[in-house]
């Protein structure tokens, strides 16, 4: 009797569970967990005289990480990431507020129009910016035509252009959580605040901002972290004058051919990500509101 019972338990519970959860568990372990372990291990490896990776333990990669040039690049990455996040919030907040609270019948359309560019190829859109901002590009041509500029100005190949490109790519990631948070705002709370004597500014500071702060946090995480790794934006628009950690890593795996160093650099990114996510969770952030 007992044998039959446990066989039934197997068929009813364990087997279906295995079939359903097995593939995803297997996949995540093999293709996420294991590679990350490899990265960790690789960061302690060294190169032999033929520039091949050898399993000889060394801390030299980590020592390279605190090279002065590298430190400059970390600073630059941090600056660009902060600026990007700042400008995203600055533009996305009022924009999301207006779209989320509009009484227009086209509300859904307005929302989709923000998401649509995100579904097209980001590379080609960044290239569009290059065309627009280049010395023989549209902006210069137009400004020259209206006699605002005599000589073409190089809008490209600096940190500003890189920030612009990043803001452009990551804008929807800030809009999405903000939109969700703002939509949930109860209008009667705003009316009550006004009823009790608060002007528009006070209502915003006392009521709107605190109740939408979760959206700001989610959005900031979703913008700040990717910025550190988006090497193609800084390549195309920054032209080597706005190198990020991402660019450093990319180089080690392509031309630089120094995989252990690249792995060590990646560890920095992983650590930064983990810290930020932990802070986010500590501040009450909801993990499910990350991601699209």
């Amino acid at each position: 009797m007992a044998k039959g019972k446990s066989k039934h338990k197997w068929r009813a519970n364990t087997l279906p569970a295995l079939i359903m959860v097995g593939p995803v568990s297997f996949w995540m372990l093999i293709f996420i967990a294991v590679p990350l372990i490899y990265v960790f291990v690789m960061s302690f490896c060294s190169l032999d005289e033929y520039y091949n990776v050898t399993y000889k333990f060394t801390l030299s990669n980590y020592r390279r990480l605190i090279d002065i040039d590298y430190l400059k690049i970390y600073g630059q990455s941090l600056l660009i990431a902060l600026l990007t996040t700042f400008f995203c919030i600055l533009v996305a907040y009022p924009f999301s507020y207006l779209i989320a609270r509009t009484k227009s019948k086209k509300k859904n359309l307005l929302y989709m129009l923000v998401i649509i560019p995100f579904w097209t190829n980001s590379l080609i859109r960044i290239y569009g910016w290059r065309t627009f901002l280049g010395t023989s590009g549209w902006l210069n041509t137009i400004l020259h035509f209206f006699h605002i500029l005599k000589e073409p100005v190089d809008f490209l190949f600096n940190k500003g252009a890189t920030v612009l490109g990043m803001v452009y790519c990551l804008f929807p990631f800030m809009v999405l959580p903000l939109y969700t948070a703002i939509e949930k705002l109860d209008t009667s709370l705003l009316e009550a605040s006004s009823d009790l004597g608060a002007r528009k500014g006070a209502t915003f500071w006392e009521i709107v901002l605190p109740l939408t702060s979760s959206g700001i946090f989610s959005g900031s995480i979703m913008v700040f972290i990717p910025t550190l790794g988006y090497f193609f934006v800084s390549d195309i628009l920054g032209g080597g004058n706005a190198d990020l950690i991402g660019n450093l890593i990319e180089r080690q795996f392509q031309s630089g051919n120094n995989w252990p160093l690249g792995a060590a650099l990646s560890i920095i990114l992983i650590v930064v990500t983990l810290i930020l996510v932990k802070i986010y969770q500590k501040m009450g952030g909801d993990m499910d509101s990350l991601g699209v």
Partner: protein
């Protein structure tokens, strides 16, 4: 007593929807005025116009003699208790109640004093550090009231504040609110669809129907002398007869209705005018013998026992049901009896009939 709120010729139109039609109300200082009506009649819109969340399409609204059209809600000396309470979920009870004072930049020590007193007044001592989501419905309601009253507004606007409470709590709160209003001597403008609530609490009731104010009067006046058919049927129960005036002899008026003739008393009517007659069930009388001037016959259909009251349903020859209401123990027609309906002439309320209802005289119909 002065006029504290003056609404003159106010209309509110949303697109093609005429929600408030030519409204004129003068609210007396210190009174408890209720705007009563069913959903969509315009009562909440009117309240929101006084508060400042809607703007009148035409007409003017004055508070304390000053026009408030161009004033934002935070510039007006009125406060609102919202239907959903609208408590700030991220702030403590203390901060919720202190909010209005904080906006007026009242010094912290004075805030503390006033908030403490107010919390005592609404019996919420000890709740200072709690958050709204930790409170029951009744407690949240009291926080909403405290938060509004602490600002010493000249007028308090209440938008169906008791709707979410269960029956027993609601009855309790009705008395508490009335007591509070009398004690603080603040003008209350109260919105509800519950006619019993309106009758219990108000000094005056303004009955609204499809954007129009049908009548504004004391509860007794509204009940005893409804001005329109809507008011008559909305407040309490009544029996309605539509008919045409046949004869006027002094103040006594004979009216021909579908099932026969009836009598009533009134001034300002003309012969052949279409008219509506309302007789409350408790005033409805009957006789086993024919009565002079009344030719309505009916037979008894059913009895409904409602605790201390018994309602007897009788049916006319055209099938309409009439209610006769008596206290339990008093005499009522016997089952199966045929009776003649009658009443004291002054107990019938005569209302000009705007609808011009036509009817057919029914004669010689066999009764069951």
């Amino acid at each position: 007593m002065g006029k504290i709120v003056e609404i003159e010729g106010v209309n509110k139109i949303y697109g093609t929807n005429h929600v408030v039609k030519d409204l004129n109300i003068t609210v007396e200082e210190g009174e408890f005025l209720t705007l009563l009506g069913s959903s969509g009649c315009g009562k909440t819109t009117t309240l929101r116009m006084i508060a400042g969340f809607e703007e009148a399409t035409t007409g003017s609204i004055k508070v304390e003699g000053e026009s408030i059209e161009n004033k934002e809600p935070f510039e007006r000396n009125v406060n609102t208790v919202f239907q959903s309470y609208a408590l700030f979920t991220h702030k403590t009870i203390y901060d919720n109640i202190a909010y209005g004072l904080k906006m007026k930049k009242v010094p912290k020590s004075e805030i503390r004093e006033r908030v403490t007193k107010m919390m005592e007044l609404v019996q919420l001592e000890g709740f200072e550090k709690r958050y709204p989501n930790q409170l029951s419905g009744g407690q949240k309601q009291r926080v909403a009231i405290a938060r509004a009253l602490i600002n010493k507004p000249r007028v308090l606007l209440l938008d169906e504040p008791l709707g979410a409470l269960d029956l027993k709590l609601r009855k309790q709160m009705q008395l508490e609110l009335k007591r509070l209003q009398k004690r603080l001597n603040i003008t209350f403008i109260y919105v509800t669809h519950d006619q019993e609530e309106a009758l219990t609490m108000s000094d005056r009731i303004a009955v609204m129907h499809e954007g129009v104010m049908d009548q504004i009067a004391t509860p007794a006046e509204i009940y005893e002398h409804p001005a329109t058919k809507f008011v008559a049927t909305f407040i309490g129960e009544t029996n309605i007869f539509d008919g045409c005036i046949k004869e006027i002899a002094g103040e006594t008026i004979t009216i021909g209705v579908e099932n026969g003739d009836i009598k009533g008393k009134g001034k300002g009517f003309a012969e052949n005018e279409f008219i509506t007659v309302s007789v409350r069930p408790e005033k409805m009388n009957y006789s086993t013998e024919p009565v002079n001037g009344f030719s309505l016959t009916a037979y008894v259909k059913d009895y409904i026992y409602v605790g201390s009251i018994v309602k007897c349903i009788v049916v006319l020859s055209n099938g309409s049901e009439i209610k006769i209401e008596r206290l339990a123990g008093q005499e009522l027609p016997k089952a199966g009896d045929q009776i003649f309906l009658c009443w004291k002439e002054e107990d019938a309320v005569l209302i000009h009939n705007q609808d011009q209802v036509f009817f057919q005289a029914v004669e010689n119909v066999e009764l069951a």
